[in-house]
Amino acid sequence: MVVDRSLSSRAVGLAVHAVIVVVLITTIFPVLNILSNSVSETYHIIAGHVSFFPVGFSLRHYSILFMDPMIPRSFLNSVLITLLGTAVNLAFTVTMAYPLAKRRLPFRRSFMVLIVVTMFFSGGLIPRFMVVRALGMYDSFLALTVPIAISAFNLIVMRTFFKQVPEELEESAFLEGAKETTVLVRIVMPLAKAGVATIALFYAVSHWNAFFDAMIYLYDTRKYPMQLVLRDIVMRTEMARLSFLQDQYGRNDLMEQEAVAIQGIKYGLIAITMLPMLMLYPFIQRYFVKGVMIGSLKD
């Protein structure tokens, strides 16, 4: 490639780097700020001294967090929901994607239409809520997993991976009298391992990060996942403070009314909720990139 060294070209180059640097700093700063605040000393948090790096070092907020039984319990709930949910997702998605990848599947087109329609039109929140209630799943982890057992997008990604497995391998297995399920489990799935891993990660991350279904389907607060506890502690206290202030004081009294140590605890809680994903994502992001490219291809 011929490199253009004119003034206008350098201006473009400068603008390009400026955009990238601004994006990167704005991306990282909030995350670093939260993490740094969570391990800073309470005094410096309140004073607003913390920017990119911790000021003073203290794990006090974390020790307070873990003394409350609610936090470890909700962390465990999130782990359970993620594991159970991903298992359900894989069982349903794999068994559906495999037949859909086969030309010899009868009614294949009709099944595809059935699926694609749901990508563009749905019954919406309330009818889905009523169906889940009618099935007796209310207030159980089943409500957070079974109603979202298959995502049409992940199904299509999985089907694409299955399509790439050469048919000849299956043919020879069939000639030796293997059953369809044996072929799927013994031959096709090991060859489409990358695909299974991709959709498993897609599903697992979405379960870990979900809060809405837990909010509408869980009644018992002891079943709450991390995300919901985080919402209650950060957003609810914020709202409680708001209405309190509205009733009692003018806006200017905000400063005096701040609760003190709770701020550090909130930072710690956000950090705990994000950390599993933050630590995982550099290793799994390439699966995501590949998956999203496969899913966005038209076929």
Partner: protein, 316 residues
């Protein structure tokens, strides 16, 4: 078609079905899932036309069967009620701003990444930019609450250091839309760039080489080669985006808004949630939700039609 070939066709089909019944057994749970959790709720939209009143000790189905049919009453109530116009306006405005700012932001970022020739730098920048995609909506909003806190949030600390009075961003109606759109860009810019970048990698380098011979500048390359080459991708994504723009991020708004910001933040989706899930007004909320879905579908059809007329790119 004569009955004879029809019978032969159906017999051939039956043979196919019998031969491949193992595949049908495998797909059965998935089909059942779609019927129960996607098509049953679509049937459940008929809730919108009855006056559903939960009675103690009675299941959903029994309640539904004993509810009186009232036709379009809920729709009329919604359209003529005081909430209709503000909800519609808020939904459209938020959706419009999201498309207007978030959509081009991802394209701009993709172009910038593509213009970086140092591969390591490009990969590094891209990987960092994916980070928000792995952070939950709850965490994003919680971070906003903390960062923009009037007492110890970093943003207000910066403002006060240059002599500006602290602003309670999350409680100020005027700040709701900028924060909603801004956090949307923050969360989606890197992830959104992937598809465009992939499309750019497909552009033949010979195009740039011949442009260089003609003495094209770098900016001309971007405007005349890079962007036109990814136009099909842009169009497809734009159709999808415009077609779903009324489905604003209800989950994020539910986390962000509070009674002080309802006047700009309350959208159709959040209203459905409050009326239906919080206040058990199931029938009315279903009607409002159905209105939302129908408008959404219409928008998608119109966006698709327009795109096909203008640029030959369409979803179907």
């Amino acid at each position: 078609m004569s009955t004879d070939t029809g019978r032969r066709d159906s017999r051939a089909l039956w043979r196919e079905v019998k031969k491949n019944r193992a595949l049908l057994y495998l797909i059965a749970p998935g089909i059942l899932y779609f019927v129960i959790f996607h098509y049953l709720p679509i049937y459940g939209l008929s809730f919108a036309f009855v006056d559903y009143a939960p009675k103690y000790g009675q299941g959903v189905v029994a309640n539904y069967l004993t509810s009186p049919w009232i036709g379009f009453t809920h729709f009329v109530d919604f359209f003529t009620g005081p909430k209709f116009f503000p909800l519609l306006r808020n939904t459209v405005v938020l959706g419009f701003y999201s498309v207007l700012f978030e959509f081009p932001a991802a394209i701009l970022f993709a172009v910038c990444l593509y213009e970086v020739h140092n591969l390591f730098y490009r990969k590094f920048a891209q990987t960092i930019s994916f980070l928000p995609h792995f952070i939950s909506t709850v965490s994003v909003v919680a971070m906003m609450v903390m960062l923009f806190s009037p007492s110890d949030g970093y943003v207000n600390w910066l403002l006060s250091s240059i002599g500006i009075e602290p602003i309670y961003f999350m409680a100020e109606p005027g700040w709701f839309r900028p924060l909603y759109v801004g956090s949307g860009i923050w969360a989606g810019i890197g992830w959104g760039a992937i598809v465009y970048l992939a499309a750019m990698y497909g552009i033949p380098t010979s195009l740039y080489e011949s442009a260089a011979i003609d003495g094209a500048t770098r900016l001309q390359n971007i405007v005349r080669i890079t962007l036109p080459s990814i136009l099909p991708t842009i169009m497809i994504l734009l159709i999808l985006r415009v077609g779903t723009f009324i489905n604003v991020g209800v989950e994020k708004i539910l986390l962000m808004y509070n009674p002080l910001t309802y006047e700009v933040a309350d959208v159709i989706g959040t209203y459905v949630y409050r009326r239906g899930i919080v206040k058990f007004d199931y029938s009315f909320a279903t009607a409002v939700g159905l209105f939302n879905s129908v408008v959404n579908l219409l928008l998608l059809v119109v966006a698709n039609y327009t795109a096909r007329k203008v640029s030959d790119e369409s979803l179907w």
